[in-house]
């Protein structure tokens, strides 16, 4: 068995354990409400958003419906992976795993892939249904490039939350702390980031919340690169030419790469040194 196939086999076991877990059955209705539910709502031909705005095409609807990913899927990612390491550590199974000849870095990669795939598979499936719903209600398909960015950027944001959570799980000896860390981080980036942006704007003397003020828009766009949710929206905005927040396409994808590589490296390094 090659290293690659061993990682894949371990990934498959890790994924299936979570994919068919009780908590997934609990979260699935929530995901259905958040993903296809939002796509259904935003694709209503008669919808009028605050400010009198109406979504003009399928990609714009998917952009608005991505709120479901930010609020629902990321939380599910946290709840699915918070005990990836801590539970095994508490039960002693981790000690057994660490005593196997399979390199720890490979085990870490398999844990990441397994937890990630467990949330990615249902999310992508529901996103596919969302696209079909948009087509049904609006009569418009997103272009293949739009769909590609939509799926890939969603995969990215879920991976980031999985990475934060497994990293927290590897540092904590009890599952309560691990879940608190994951949910806390989710709160920070989902709800509190606006507060951080406001504080920085206030300290910089920029008028707050003025959507017509280019300085505010630029500052908000820049600070969003430091938040996974912000980067996610920047990635989606690369397919919406009418939105310009002063961030180049390469900057968005570059930050996506950094948000991916840095926590992955940290987690692998952590697993290399972890004690049972």
């Amino acid at each position: 068995m090659s290293d690659f196939s061993r990682i894949m086999a371990f990934t498959r076991r890790f994924r299936n354990e979570r994919l068919f877990s009780t908590r997934m059955y609990i979260m699935l209705p929530i995901l259905v409400l958040f993903l296809p539910g939002m796509a259904w709502g935003f694709s209503d031909p008669n919808i009028v958003l605050p400010g009198g705005h109406q979504p003009a095409n399928a990609m714009e609807v998917l952009f608005y419906a991505s709120l479901g990913v930010v609020f629902g899927a990321t939380m599910c990612a946290v709840l699915l992976s918070y005990d990836s390491v801590s539970r095994e550590r508490a039960s002693g199974v981790l000690e057994l795993r660490l005593s196997q000849p399979m390199p720890r870095s490979h085990q870490a990669i398999a844990m990441i892939f397994g937890s990630w795939q467990a949330i990615l598979i249902p999310t992508w499936f529901l996103m596919l249904i969302s696209i079909l719903l948009v087509r049904y209600r609006m009569g418009d398909w997103p272009s293949s490039a739009d769909a590609f960015v939509y799926f890939i950027s969603t995969a990215f944001i879920l991976l980031w939350y999985v990475l934060f959570t497994v990293l927290a799980s590897s540092y904590t000896r009890e599952q309560g702390t691990a879940i608190s860390f994951g949910v806390g981080l989710w709160f920070l980036f989902t709800f509190l980031w606006a507060l951080v942006t406001t504080m920085v704007a206030y300290a910089s003397g920029v008028s707050i919340g003025q959507e017509n003020d280019a300085t505010w828009v630029m500052l908000e766009g820049g600070l969003d690169l430091l938040s996974p949710n912000g980067v996610y929206h920047h990635l989606l905005e690369t397919r919406l030419p009418q939105i310009d927040r002063g961030i180049a396409v390469w900057q968005s994808w570059g930050m996506a790469l950094i948000w991916t590589v840095l926590p992955t490296w940290l987690f692998i390094r952590r697993m290399e040194r972890i004690l049972p």
Binding site: R6, R13, S91, E95, L96, S99, Q100, P101
Partner: protein
């Protein structure tokens, strides 16, 4: 049995412990651990690790299993003339490790849980099935982990340790939770494994029951190996002699007539018989007692047991220690002060 499969030379590992100070709340210092352990494990032998709670037995096993990296010293193996230093990965390939009390849980089946570990060791499905049969879990292969009793979990952990046909088997408290019959079968299994050339290290508080199968014994206390060798060698290192147990009918004899050192004699008088325990016997004593008309029913020379050896090595005594874990005793071990990271 001459080939050394694992030799630890000055192997050291110390745990980091939190020692926060006012200005450095994150401060950690080097605390307890294993200090310069020297140990040899020969092919097909069984080594018993014995020590009080917190002696470092589990830490030493983890070092031997390649889970904890050696901070100093080396782990080597020799095959004929060639001696090679083993890396952590090489150690993990050679070693099957049975941690203490793995609490298997969840909806996974017994077979799936073992298959997961098997994939990490590149073991086949047939090997998994064979091991499940060997440890007596063939009727529970499709049971969920959460349905297993403590003894069954121990069996599953043992099966996991045997995956990949390891040359060295490290067992941390393997008898915990096993019923007496299973424990006896377990001992039998160990014997079979040693006949196949597997070397075994057992850390157990119930080592008294395993004394018959142990080839060598290592006594540990405060992270150090105090004595190591066969039972006789360890007894010799600790200056422990064989004791003589004499029993007879009627009234206990006056042993002062035969033994000068009163303190080395313990006499117990029961209703119809008596028992004398001599710390030191001497040649001709039996003849003298028989000539004196003393009716002796049994004369047993008993080698020192593990508890006596442990007490002699650590300076502890059963009466003094009681159940206290952190006994300071009179052990002249090296004291260590915390060193900053």
């Amino acid at each position: 049995m001459g080939e050394v499969v694992l030799r630890l030379k000055d192997a050291t590992y110390r745990h980091y412990v939190h020692a926060p100070s006012t200005f450095k709340p994150w401060r950690r210092i080097l605390g307890q651990g294993i200090f310069s352990a020297n140990l040899e494990l020969k092919k097909g032998s069984i080594l018993g690790l014995v020590g009080p709670n917190g002696a470092g037995k589990t830490t030493l096993l983890r070092m031997m299993a390649g889970i904890l990296p050696l901070q100093d010293g080396s782990a080597r193996s020799s095959l004929g003339e060639s001696v090679s230093t083993l890396t952590d990965t090489e150690l993990r390939q050679k070693v099957g490790h049975m941690p203490e009390q793995v609490r298997w849980q969840g909806k996974k089946t017994v077979r799936n849980a073992l298959m997961e570990i098997a994939e990490m060791r590149a073991s086949s499905e047939s090997r998994v099935d064979g091991l499940l049969k060997l440890v007596g879990l063939q009727s529970r292969v499709d049971s969920r982990l959460s349905e297993l009793s403590q003894g069954m979990r121990q069996r599953l952990t043992l099966a996991a340790a045997l995956l990949g046909s390891p040359k060295i088997l490290l067992l941390d408290e393997p008898l915990n939770g096993l019923d007496p019959v299973a424990a006896a079968a377990f001992v039998l299994l160990l014997r079979k494994l040693t006949e196949k050339g597997v070397s075994i290290v057992i850390s157990s508080h119930q080592v008294e029951g395993l004394v018959e199968i142990i080839d060598r014994l290592a006594l540990m206390h405060r992270g150090q190996i105090l004595a190591e060798g066969t039972m006789d060698e360890v007894a010799q290192q600790l200056n422990l002699n064989k004791k003589t147990e004499i029993s007879g009918i009627g009234t206990a004899p006056d042993m002062n007539t035969f033994i000068e050192d009163e303190e080395s004699v313990k006499i117990e008088q029961f209703s119809e018989h008596w028992q004398v325990l001599l710390e030191k016997s001497r040649i001709g004593l039996l003849q003298e007692m028989v000539n004196a008309g003393i009716e002796i029913t049994s004369w047993i020379e008993r080698p020192p047991n593990v508890i006596e050896m442990l007490c002699a090595a650590t300076g502890q005594s059963v009466e003094d220690v009681g159940l206290e874990v952190t006994s300071t005793s009179v052990m002249p071990l090296r004291t260590f002060r915390g060193e900053e990271e």
